[in-house]
Amino acid sequence: MKDTLAHLKRGERAIITDVSSNAIPLKLLEMGCLPGNSVELVQVAPFQDPMYLNINGSHLAIRKETASHILIEKVTNG
């Protein structure tokens, strides 16, 4: 199943598997949003939007729409 970052729930972790580079600003890539990096959903505003993430140690917030262009694989807690 193809999960996107928009489906992540608060406190969950995942690994970024792919980003569709046309829909994602370069700035976000440069902040660490790249395949292979880990991501955790720290906090969400009402309506799950925007999303406050910890990507690879970088703390940033993006909109849900942008998050839906980032493919992930959830890491089961352990």
Binding site: P46, I62, T66
Partner: protein
Amino acid sequence: MGKQINVALIGNPNTGKTSVFNALTGLNQKVGNYPGITVEKKEGICKLPRGVKAHIIDLPGTYSLNASSLDENVVIELLLNKNDKDFPDIAVVVSDVENLKRNLLLFTQIKDLEIPTLLVINMADRMNYKGISLNIDYLEEHLQTKIALISTRKNTGIDDLKNLITNYKEVSVTPCLNAYEIDKEYFGNLQKAFPNQLLYKLWLVITQDVNFGKTDRKDFDAVADFKTKSKGDLKRLQQKETIKRYQFINNILKVGQTIDASKAKDLRTRLDRVLTHKVWGYVIFTIILLTIFQAIYDWAELPMDFIDSVFASLSEWTKNVLPVGAFTNLLAEGIIPGLSGIVIFIPQIAFLFLFIAVLEESGYMSRVVFLMDRIMRRFGLSGKSVVPLISGTACAIPAIMATRNIESWKERLITILVTPFTTCSARLPVYLIIISLVIPQGRFFGLSYQALTLMLLYLIGFGTAVFSAYLLNKILKIKSKTFFVIEMPNYKLPLIKNVALTVVEKTKSFVFGAGKIILAISIVLWFLASYGPGKDFNDAENIIKTEYATENLTEEDLQSKIASHKLEHSFIGITGRAIEPAIRPLGYDWKIGIAIVSSFAAREVFVGTLATIYSVGNDDEDTIKNRMAAELNPILGGPLFTFASGISLLLFYAFAMQCMSTLAIVKRETNSWKWPILQLVIMTAFAYIVALIAFQFLK
């Protein structure tokens, strides 16, 4: 001897770059603008060991050399233009120990331009706290640089940094990444076409939209045309480049940095759980705003009363001590009251700048952006519009410049257009004096009525801004992609030195900027009010004496009748009465009319203007407020400043576009006269209508 080293400070936002700049230069700094654009240019001088001096530029914060805003463009333009007089002998990249990985991305890019580059790792005091340890020797060896581990908070490591800068010639210029690795074929062809140029520099020129200094332009025009790839392909290459850079950085940090997560204490998580909470986040934000407004009102009252009485006695003293004559009158009735109209507001403006500086420095402002994005988007704005809207309470000019980091052009344009509705500090003088005249004393749940009125005016400002944004969002047909990325920095206790410098700097520029205009206007007004044409003005004494010959007036009453007759027939009185029909329905007399007209230079002129007009020919030296309270309405009788006319004036000032500097900035930022002219016409017409309705209902 006498040799100055050019140093450029570069770094991500929120790395404490400006603290490093302050630590190096102390008070030896000046803030200006880059020629032709409104990006702030901070530079200063730093004394280094052995009598060497360094000229330090604090470049705008940026995450990478791939610029996405005007501010970031400044960085890359300087670094690509060897002929610029500020071209650095050495680049100092400031990084934050907690975000080293991301900060190093920019470092590798600058290094690839073959500029000697030092690495500053700031906030070293947090390493223990976060369980971070660094192998500096290893990092220096593999990043091929010199590292200064410093803490601007604890004031450590600054001398090491100064030493490293002094010995800048020893710093390596070996690049980090070989561009061929990204795409051998493409970069091979590129180098073949331009064999004398640095490959990474060529690549930046192709991917960026940068203006170059005149001398370099010729060399680079051809490069920018070297388009053998589509935009999408170029972006894929940029992505590949970024991945390669991170591989390089990760390999080095794997050995050079260890993080013991079990030792890390996480203040951020705990604070964020509350401050960005779905409910508590908003409650706290509201409480913070309320506190700020109450504080501006209460804390500033004492110093303001003091300043007001000092100026009143200064004026009186001038009249008593200097010889009688036109110059003394100009000083006592024109310049001093005019200046008091601005100096009196220093306490409040300083408090406002203080609060904004603290919100920004502490990292809280980003949380507000996060909380508000979804709500603001509904009105066609971005969460990032909150920063201009809040800092617009200080001044619309920096606020409009602060819209530059809004990614979507439509959201940015709307923010620019509605920001002037927020209550800027120039409106504050007008509000305060009118509120104190027409709103009764008294308290409601511990908040004074007057403070509540002020709060309400701020809310009206925000409300109008947001509502007009909603309308603009529906009307404007602009398609632009909406991106939104914002860093959530660590919470930091604001450094007193940084906050103090910001407050002093901003207050100074506000006072001197406005002061110049106010001084000029008060002088002109004084002349216009002290001289007049024809018999009515020059023969006022005889006219009044004849008119009241039968009545038994005291000398005092007679003098005041003469003075007001003179004023009415002076140049200013004639002009004022010409415009009076237009403003009478709003409840104003011609004196207020003059004050409104002169306010179009800048709003804060209002109080100074009234102060000047009222003091001409008036011998009792009194505070501005008492003089205004004593003014009578010539038509309706009773005090001029009633509840109705006061509210009408407040609303007029809340909505009217009365700031030429703001219009100039909007023209610059939107690159068109269309938007500022629309602002001027629509806002002012709206203000007139609302003030009219308010007065007619309340009177």
